[in-house]
C-alpha cells in the first residue's frame, strides 16, 4: 500500500473541489491533494455544455466545460497535485487528530493518505425512480436526466426518440431542449408540485422556445411497456400531491427522463461519523464550514444542493481558506 502525507486532502475535483484547492493554496497551504474519481477534473460541469455559468464569478456567461476549464487552468498553474480515476473508499479519524483517507486507483492500487484536514466536495446525485415510487413495469428507457445528458453530451448517443420528462428541475429543462435540438420529440414536462423547481429563464428558453408543455400538479402514475417504455399515464394531483381519480391521460413515449431533485452524496461523511442534517442531507457545519469533526470541511453540493455553480465556487473558496487556517493553527498541534 502506498502512503503519503498532506496538509489538505480534497475529495472531489468538481467546481467545489477546484475552488477549495485554489483558495487553500492561496492562503498558504503547501501540501494539497485533490482526489477525483473521474478521468478528468471538472466534475458534472463537463457534461453541462449549455451556457449560463459564471455570471457572478467571471462576469460573463460561460458553458459548463468553459467554467470548469478556468478553474482547472488555475489549479494547474498553482501546481496543485491531483490524482484522477481515484476513488476514496474511506475516511477515518486517528486518535492524534490526523485523518486517514483510503483511496484506490489503477496505477497505485490502494493508497493511504494521512492528512491534517479534509475538504469534502463530492457533490450530489439525482433522485432515482425508486425514491419516487412510480408504479408500473421496469423497462429500458427510464433514465435520470443527468444520465441522459451524459449519453448525449459526452458520447453523442441518443437514449430515446420520444420523451416525457418528470420533474421540472433545471437538468430536466435543459435536457428537454437538448433532446429536441438533437432531433427527439419532447412530449411534455410534468411537475408534481404546483410550481417549477427550475429557473424561470430555463422554462422560457428550454420549454417555451420549443413549444414543450409544462404540466404543473401532474405526475406519472404508471409506466407502460415491458421491454422498452411505450408510454406513461399522467395524472393531475391535488394540493397534497395525491392523484385525482379520473384525471389520467396517456402519453406515448419511448423514454421517461426523471429530474426530481438532487441528493448530496455523503457516504464518506456518514462513514466518518460526522453529524448529519436531516433537512439538507448534508453534514452539519459551523460558520467555518467545518463538520462536527474538527478539521473536516464541506462545501458545494455535498453540503446542500446549490442553485448556481457560482455559489458553489464562492462557498468552496471559503472552505479552502478555513481549512488552511485550521492547518496553520489547530493543525499545528496535531
Amino acid at each position: 500500500m502506498s502512503r503519503r502525507e498532506e496538509e489538505v486532502v480534497i475529495i472531489g475535483g468538481g467546481p467545489a473541489g477546484l475552488a477549495a484547492a485554489l483558495s487553500a493554496k492561496k492562503a498558504g497551504c503547501e501540501r494539497i491533494l485533490i482526489l477525483e474519481r473521474d478521468k478528468e477534473l471538472g466534475g458534472i460541469l463537463n457534461q453541462c455544455i449549455h451556457n449560463g455559468f459564471g455570471l457572478h464569478t467571471f462576469k460573463e456567461e460561460l458553458t459548463g466545460p468553459e467554467y470548469a476549464d478556468r478553474y482547472i487552468q488555475m489549479v494547474l498553474a498553482e501546481e496543485i497535485s491531483c490524482l484522477l480515476r481515484t476513488m476514496v473508499t474511506n475516511i477515518s479519524l486517528e486518535e492524534d487528530g490526523w485523518k486517514v483517507v483510503t483511496a484506490m486507483n489503477k496505477d497505485q492500487g490502494l493508497l493511504e493518505i494521512r492528512t491534517k484536514s479534509v475538504i469534502l466536495a463530492m457533490g450530489c446525485r439525482e433522485r432515482p425512480r425508486g425514491a419516487l415510487n412510480i408504479p408500473g413495469y421496469r423497462p429500458a428507457g427510464i433514465y435520470s436526466a443527468g444520465t441522459a445528458q451524459y449519453y448525449v453530451n459526452m458520447e453523442g448517443r441518443m437514449p430515446g426518440r420520444t420523451v416525457v420528462i418528470l420533474g421540472s428541475g433545471d437538468i430536466g429543462l435543459i435536457m428537454a431542449r437538448r433532446m429536441v435540438l438533437e432531433g427527439a420529440k419532447v412530449q411534455c414536462v410534468a411537475e408534481l408540485r404546483p410550481y417549477s423547481g427550475g429557473l424561470k429563464r430555463n422554462i422560457v428558453q428550454c420549454l417555451d422556445d420549443f413549444g414543450i408543455p409544462l404540466y404543473l400538479s401532474t405526475t406519472v402514475s404508471a409506466i407502460h411497456g415491458r421491454e422498452r417504455v411505450e408510454g406513461v399515464t399522467l395524472t393531475r394531483v391535488d394540493e397534497n400531491g395525491k392523484p385525482i381519480p379520473g384525471s389520467e391521460w396517456e402519453v406515448p413515449c419511448d423514454t421517461l427522463l426523471l429530474s426530481c431533485g438532487l441528493i448530496p452524496e455523503n457516504e464518506l461523511t456518514v462513514g466518518l461519523g460526522a453529524q448529519m442534517d436531516a433537512k439538507t442531507n448534508g453534514p452539519v457545519v459551523n460558520e467555518r464550514l467545518e463538520c462536527s469533526i474538527s478539521g473536516v470541511f464541506a462545501c458545494g453540493n455535498v453540503l446542500h444542493v446549490h442553485e448556481l455553480v457560482d455559489h458553489v465556487s464562492a462557498e468552496a473558496d471559503k472552505a479552502g481558506r478555513f481549512a488552511a487556517a485550521y492547518v496553520q493553527t489547530e493543525g499545528r498541534l496535531i
Binding site: 476513488m87 425508486g130 408504479p135 413495469y137 448517443r157
Partner: protein
C-alpha cells in the same frame, strides 16, 4: 437436431439446481431458457428468504423439501460461494385471539422437523429486535430462518452446472414439446431431442406440461409487490419478521437482505398476465402500511426501488393445489414436472435439485462423473473485501481499482469477470445481478453508461446492441445528429416562433 440425455426447460433457481445435481452423473444436459439470462422469472423477484419450514402442511413435499433445503443451505452456500446468513425469523402475533394459531404453527413446524422453535413474549422479542411493534402479544422464533441472495444462489448453481458440462441456451423460448421416441423440443426455431425432459418453466410450467400431458394443470400467477429500502435503514431489524399467515399468503414481511438493505413485501394478488410484473400504487402503499404494523420507524421515503414478482400458484382439475407437483407425469414417460414452485421455492431449490436428480437417476441410471467440480468461487467482492484482499486483487489486476458503481463500490474488474464467467452477463441487469452494479441508492444513474461501455467492449459489439434485459430493451436508440426529421418537427418548428412565449405552467390536458 441437438441431442441430449436430459433437457431442462427453465433456468430459474429450480432448473439450475436440477441441472447442477444431474451433472454429477455422466450425461449430456441442456437448459433451455426463454429470457436473455438465467434468473429472470420468479427467481429474481422474491423475498430472498430461507424459510425455517413451519408454514407448509405436514407431510407435503413443500414441508419436506423446505426443511431439507434449509438444512442444505450452510454447506451449499460455502461450496458455491453465495451470500447466505442465518438471521433467524419471527412470526408476529398481534391479538390474543390468534395465539392458538401461533401455537399451531409451532407444532406444525416441529412435526415438519424444524428445530429450535420457541414462542417468545413481547419483551423477549424486543430484546432480540428492539424495533418490533409494541402491539404484539407473542411471536414464534425460528433460529434456523435465514436470508440468501436469490440471484447469487441461482447464478452460482448455473455457473457450477456449466463448468460441469451443462449447456445453456438463452433466448430459447420453447414453443413445442412433441412426444415420440423421447421428446423433440422446438425452441427459438431450433430442434432439440432428449429421452428425459424436466419442466421447470415457472409460471409457464402449465403450458409446457399441457403440451405433452392429458391431465391439464393451470398456473395462476400470484403477484407480490415489494419495496427495497436504502442501506441506511438496513439495520432496522435483525430477524426476518413475518406476520401470522392469512388466507392470501404469509402476510407482509420485513427483512434485512444479505447485502444490508431492508426489504418489505409482498402483497398477494392473483392476476391473469404471466408477464404482469408491474407494480401498482395501491400495492406499494399497502406494503409500507402493513409492513409498518410489524416494525416501528419504517419510513417509506427510504425506498430505493420497488418491484413485483410472480409466484406460480397451481390448480389441478380446477382445484387449488397446496403442494408442489414434482415427478414424472403419469401419461408422459420421461417427462418430469417441477411445477407450482411458489414460496418457499427458493429455500427448497437445493432440495429440489437433489430430489429430482435422485428420481431421474433411479429411472435413468448413469455412472458418476469422476471429475465433477463441486466447488465454485464467486466473483470477488471489492466492497466487502478487507484492505489486504483489495490490495492483492488490484496487484493481480488493476481493473479492480477502477470503481464503476459508486453506491455499491463495484469495480471494472468485477464487471469484466461477471461478463466472462460461464453463463456470463450480457445485459445491464445481468451485470447488476452478478455484481450489484446499479443496485445502490442512485439506481445506476452514474454507472449505467460505464457498465454499458464495458459490456460492449468485452462482448465486442456496439453499445447500441446492449440491452437492459434482452429483447427490445436496448438502452440507446442511436446517435445524436442522426435526426429523424419527422420526430423533431413539432418542437423544432416552435423554435422559429419568434417573440412568442407560450403560457407557462397553465397545465391541464394536452
Amino acid at each position: 437436431m441437438k441431442k441430449y440425455d436430459v433437457i431442462i426447460i427453465g433456468a430459474g433457481v429450480s432448473g439450475c439446481a436440477i441441472a447442477r445435481w444431474l451433472a454429477k452423473k455422466e450425461r449430456t444436459i441442456a437448459v433451455l431458457e426463454k429470457a436473455s439470462d438465467v434468473c429472470e422469472g420468479s427467481s429474481k423477484a422474491n423475498s430472498g428468504i430461507v424459510h425455517a419450514g413451519h408454514d407448509a402442511r405436514t407431510g407435503t413435499l413443500k414441508a419436506r423439501l423446505n426443511v431439507r433445503g434449509n438444512e442444505m443451505m450452510d454447506a451449499l452456500s460455502k461450496e458455491l460461494d453465495f451470500p447466505f446468513r442465518r438471521n433467524g425469523s419471527l412470526v408476529l402475533c398481534f391479538e390474543e385471539i390468534s395465539r392458538p394459531k401461533l401455537e399451531e404453527l409451532k407444532e406444525r413446524g416441529e412435526k415438519n422437523g424444524v428445530k429450535g422453535l420457541e414462542i417468545l413474549s413481547p419483551e423477549q422479542v424486543r430484546e432480540l429486535d428492539p424495533a418490533i411493534s409494541d402491539d404484539i402479544v407473542a411471536a414464534l422464533y425460528a433460529p434456523s430462518g435465514g436470508i440468501v441472495c436469490p440471484f447469487g444462489m441461482n447464478i452460482a448453481l448455473a455457473e457450477n452446472a456449466a463448468v460441469n458440462g451443462v449447456e445453456f441456451y438463452l433466448n430459447h423460448m420453447v414453443t413445442e414439446v412433441k412426444k415420440c421416441d423421447g421428446y423433440i423440443i422446438t425452441a427459438a426455431g431450433e430442434k432439440f431431442s432428449a429421452p428425459v425432459v424436466i419442466n421447470a418453466a415457472g409460471v409457464y410450467a402449465d403450458a409446457i406440461h399441457n403440451m405433452v400431458s392429458g391431465q391439464k394443470i393451470k398456473i395462476t400467477p400470484r403477484r407480490g409487490e415489494y419495496c427495497l429500502m436504502d442501506k441506511n435503514c438496513g439495520n432496522l431489524v435483525h430477524s426476518t419478521v413475518f406476520q401470522l399467515p392469512s388466507e392470501l399468503g404469509k402476510g407482509i414481511l420485513v427483512t434485512p437482505t444479505v447485502h444490508g438493505n431492508l426489504l418489505v413485501g409482498p402483497t398477494a394478488e392473483d392476476i391473469l398476465d404471466k408477464e404482469g410484473v408491474d407494480t401498482t400504487a395501491e400495492g406499494l402503499s399497502k406494503v409500507i402500511e402493513l409492513g409498518g404494523r410489524s416494525v416501528n420507524g419504517l419510513d417509506g421515503r427510504l425506498t430505493i426501488t420497488s418491484f413485483a414478482g410472480l409466484r406460480a400458484h397451481l390448480e389441478l382439475h380446477g382445484e387449488e393445489k397446496q403442494d408442489f407437483i414434482i415427478g414424472e407425469a403419469e401419461d408422459a414417460e420421461g417427462f418430469f414436472d417441477v411445477a407450482g414452485i411458489e414460496s418457499p421455492g427458493l429455500t427448497c431449490a437445493p432440495a429440489i435439485g437433489e430430489y429430482v436428480a435422485a428420481m431421474v437417476n433411479e429411472k435413468y441410471p448413469a455412472p458418476d462423473k469422476k471429475d465433477f467440480i463441486a466447488v465454485r468461487k464467486g466473483i470477488p467482492n471489492m466492497a466487502e473485501a478487507t484492505d489486504e484482499e483489495r490490495h492483492r486483487l488490484i496487484a493481480a489486476n488493476p481493473a479492480y481499482a477502477n470503481v464503476i458503481c459508486r453506491c455499491e463500490m463495484v469495480t471494472e474488474g468485477e464487471i469484466v469477470e461477471a461478463i466472462h464467467r460461464p453463463v456470463g452477463a450480457t445485459t445491464l441487469d445481468g451485470v447488476k445481478r452478478r455484481t450489484r452494479a446499479g443496485m445502490g441508492r442512485c439506481q445506476s444513474g452514474f454507472c449505467s453508461p460505464k457498465t454499458l461501455e464495458i459490456l460492449a467492449r468485452e462482448l465486442g459489439v456496439d453499445q447500441s446492441k446492449i440491452t437492459k434485459a434482452g429483447g427490445n430493451s436496448a438502452i440507446l436508440t442511436g446517435y445524436t445528429k442522426d435526426v429523424v426529421e419527422s420526430a423533431a418537427q413539432d418542437n423544432a418548428s416552435m423554435a422559429g416562433n419568434a417573440g412568442k412565449q407560450a403560457d407557462v405552467g397553465k397545465g391541464g390536458r394536452a
